[in-house]
């Protein structure tokens, strides 16, 4: 299993596209891009999960780290998370800190 993570900046929004499986082995791939994103001091972080097949606690932990490296008012948007990934995120109560979206925000 592999993970590709691609960072792009759109004005004050950092977009990380995740393609593959985010687990204990691949979490550093996400970590690298997340740290780069944090350096840009974005106002919004968008995680494009439309091609993400799997998420475990390793990815959740990285998401917490990433969020804490950013300003308190940063808005986190999760795009296109599949049913199982969404269940994992909800189970740990992250849904109150993020916005789920079917489509990429403007």
């Amino acid at each position: 299993m592999t993970l590709d993570a691609t960072l792009s900046m759109r004005e004050n929004t950092a977009v990380i596209a995740l393609n593959g499986d985010l687990d204990a082995v691949t979490a550093p791939v996400f970590q690298n891009q997340a740290e780069r994103a944090a350096e840009h001091r974005p106002e919004r972080l968008v995680l494009d999960m439309r091609q993400l097949g799997y998420l475990s606690s390793a990815g959740l932990r990285q998401l917490v780290y990433t969020r804490q490296k950013m300003d308190d008012d940063v808005h986190v948007v999760l795009v296109g998370a599949n049913e199982q990934v969404t269940q994992v995120i909800r189970l740990v109560g992250f849904e109150q800190s993020v916005t789920f979206s079917d489509d990429m925000p403007e």
Partner: protein, 155 residues
């Protein structure tokens, strides 16, 4: 019954995943059930690697055995680290906190317990034996209603 033994290193997760996927296929688990079996297995395995063997991980091994039938799939992780019951750990604190105020981590075993339909642990003959099962047709729309901790009704 299938059995594999892998070194207790995170990189062995790919073999562990292949093992759980094989069981899921043999049991005819749904996509959601297959995900739950993989998730619980990963979280238990990673916990053994990182916390069970810890500094001793270079010599540690994890044996996984499992089987599938028409009711579902079960799987058992066996390690010789210190006695530890992953299903008796207190749940993580602060699940209602915003991400910016959270302590990272401590979610893995919580996920593992919630992902399975049955879970049990025993320490016998110098080894931890953590057994999980995912049953067919027990998935629900909003996650797990069963919180594990049941004895596994194996045949």
């Amino acid at each position: 019954m299938l059995t594999i033994t892998v070194p207790a290193v995170t990189e062995a997760l790919e073999q562990v995943n292949a093992f759980s996927a094989r069981l899921a296929t043999a049991a005819g688990l749904s996509l959601c059930e297959t995900y739950r079996l993989r998730l619980a297995t990963e979280e238990l395995f990673v916990n053994i690697v990182g916390h069970g063997y810890g500094a001793d991980r270079t010599t540690g091994q994890v044996t996984i055995e499992g089987d599938a039938n028409e009711r579902g799939a079960w799987l058992r992780l066996i390690d010789t680290a210190a006695p530890f019951d992953p299903f008796q750990v207190a749940g993580p604190a602060g699940l209602d906190l915003p991400l910016k105020d959270r302590e990272p981590g401590a979610l893995g075993l919580y996920l593992a317990r919630h992902a399975v339909d049955a879970a049990s642990h025993e320490y016998a003959r110098g080894a931890n034996r953590s057994t999980i099962a995912v049953l067919r047709g027990r998935s629900d729309a909003d996650g797990r209603t069963s919180h594990g901790g049941h004895d596994i009704d194996r045949e």
